[in-house]
Symmetry: C2
């Protein structure tokens, strides 16, 4: 039991800052040793991890977890193996730290380089699945950041067990033990105290429901990497291959509905509205999707219900889609910039100028041309692993992997130059 929450959070934050200064000087080999040793330890300790996890599973009904949420919480042998393999995959990624991003020689002989280095201390807040504990610790330490992990109360025992294992391995390979810390209380006040620690925390990354993100954004005194929601569009242009458009629409909407890169809204050019909506509408309806459309959509899809203004701003996270017929490309672009959430938007077209205009003008983290919105994901885009997705434009946009956990500094090498 922690008696003074504020003193505790200050201590944790100060320890993280001190560890971050040490981490600036460690080698890639040390970081990889930690990842590989930890993977081995996770496999060895699988039974003990499942034992701790059982305590969380037992308490799940107390927290009102649905059977699906309880299942996501459960650590099985397969999932533990997956966690271990995740650490090994991060070990195999190139070390982002020390990369010379660019360099130039000034006329006076100064050699100016921008060198990639860690952000410092990451405060990571997440809910539910315990494997995120290992993933987040791996990405932060691989990018030479210290991390303060704040998991959900539902996974408290699983997270503590994992954390002890990961922190113990840090000391064995000579890394600072406070490189990874887990907040050992479920008191909500602790989060508020950490969000005021701007001297010792460089960035906060919240991952979870919208109310969590909103609380973090309103209380944080340091930068935040986040997305609120994903109101993602599929726009079927006049020059679309309609069969391709149907396949991409179905995939974007239905392949997995509870995720931020699933489509929530369909826009169709008036010239192809009838031809497209008759078939695509029937397919969506057959798949069990409820369509909420404007008047023109409802002309072609009898089953569609009327859409309200609110529908166009809604992230359904389920089997519903809003739909609207637009008169031209620019109306689609304006609609997306106005109603969307700057997350992921797709155009289906064979018209190169239309694709270029859409890609340039749509103000979103990712624009898909003739591909499903579901590809906006760190793994799918080749980042190796991701700690979150950002819909902001500052620092990091879209999926955030190792590179997005770094910054740079200028290193200027001279031979006695002074300024005239």
């Amino acid at each position: 039991m922690i008696e003074n929450i504020e003193a505790y959070t200050q201590q944790v934050a100060r320890q993280a800052r001190a560890a971050a200064y040490e981490l600036a000087l460690v080698t890639g080999q040390q970081k990889n040793d930690w990842l590989l040793h930890s993977a081995g330890r996770i496999r060895e300790d699988a039974a003990a991890l499942m034992q701790e996890n059982a305590k969380d599973i037992e308490r799940a009904p107390e927290f009102g977890l649905t059977p699906a949420a309880t299942d996501r919480l459960r650590l099985t042998e397969d999932r533990i193996e997956g966690m271990a393999r995740g650490l090994e995959e991060v070990a195999a990624l190139p070390d982002p730290i020390g990369e010379v991003i660019d360099s130039s020689v000034r006329p006076n002989g100064l050699v100016v380089t921008r060198v990639r280095n860690p952000l410092g201390v990451v405060f990571f807040i997440y809910e539910s699945r315990p494997n995120v504990t290992a993933d987040a610790a791996a990405l932060c330490v691989k990018s030479s950041n210290a991390v303060i992990l704040r998991g959900g109360k539902e996974a408290f025992h699983s997270n503590i067990a994992l954390y002890r294992l990961l922190a113990g391995t840090l000391e064995e390979v000579g890394l600072p033990p406070h490189a990874v810390q887990l907040v050992e209380t479920t008191d909500r006040a602790a989060v508020g105290h950490f969000l005021r620690e701007r001297e010792n925390i460089d960035v906060t990354i919240p991952r979870g429901g919208k109310s969590l993100i909103e609380r973090v954004v309103s209380e944080a005194t340091m930068p935040v990497i986040k997305h609120f929601d994903g109101v993602c569009h599929v726009y079927v242009d006049r020059a679309a291959d309609l069969q391709m458009a149907r396949s991409i629409l179905l995939n974007s909407k239905c392949q997995r509905t509870g995720v931020c890169n699933a489509a929530e809204s369909l826009l169709v050019h008036a010239d192809v509205a009838e031809a497209f909506l008759k078939d695509a509408g029937a397919e969506l309806v057959a798949a069990g999707v409820e369509i909420r459309g404007d008047e023109r959509t409802r002309q072609y899809v009898a089953e569609a219900k009327p859409a309200t203004e609110d529908d166009y701003r809604t992230e359904y996270l389920g089997m519903t889609i809003s739909a609207k017929v637009v008169d031209n490309l620019d109306e689609a672009i304006a609609h997306i910039n106005r109603y969307g959430s700057h997350h992921t938007d797709a155009i289906i077209t064979s018209d190169l100028p239309a694709a270029t205009r859409f890609s340039t003008a749509v103000d979103s983290a990712a624009v898909m041309v003739n591909a499903s919105t579901r590809f906006n994901d760190g793994g799918q885009l080749g980042l190796g692993a991701e700690i979150g997705i950002s819909t902001d434009k500052f620092h990091a946009r879209g999926p955030c992997g190792l590179r997005e956990l770094t910054c740079y500094k200028y290193i200027v090498q001279g031979s006695g130059q002074i300024r005239e």
Copy 2:
């Protein structure tokens, strides 16, 4: 006279957002045309600009401006020519927008590119010199951002005259007229309203005194690019060329004292303290610098006064320097990370491992090896021009030029790919 400040700021912010969407689609030629036409117009209208400027000069005593500050406010023919040339220099810089930062082809054939694009809307708050109006507008529009300019009350008439000229030229070349807006009131409440416009403003850049920066940081609801102060160090290592060290120290401290990249603190390795401080101390004293040192410094420099803990955190912006003898490199690094402001810190050494360790471990925007701290400047480091300097680690660090006014988006090109 603006009657409803809040309605006015909302309108300005909304107009900026609409202009930003249009700017996403303009060509580099249009932007350069605007810069070159504006340069010509500034030269043609020099007399009218000086007439408006005279009104500000006349009111300068009302605002309590010192003779030096009044002089900085004054527009002369030379300064107007300098402003025009500044716009031409920005026109000559490469267009940052549309650059493919990196790209890859995924195994499923998706072509993933990260393309540089504008941040959107910049709110720029500055004090005193009217030439900053033209500089900031030029950098923002060249990077396809809309800008809301909020100048100081001392330069109100000069800024309005310049702004009318720049905005007028926008329309002539077909750019959105609200790409550049100037806040046409000196009411301080307007700043507060803009700082809450996070839907329509993507970044705020304050440039001025520490109290302005602090107000902006505490009230802003969007990201801020800023630095509070520059407590910059010169560390003279055991392996330093002592003559070079004296020259760099004098330059860093005295070449210009009122600027953020001037040295404010001297650290000397104990092994060379006597040899270095006897000569360097005498040189600083002869140049009129007051030294505030620890006990060991005062052994070698009779004129040095005792330093307090506070001295090591102080940005003097004048002819004073704090000094301390340290036992080794790591003590110097720890001192800088603890007392410094993460701005610019220099090491003087011929020892390569020492230089590498210092560069890696010092957590500052710029680290100078055998060069003056005064080189941390956009022009000196080759950025072409700068809108400010950042001591933060998020998004932009060090001098901020055109590139730092941009972000990126993922553009993913497919041929019908869907996710399995």
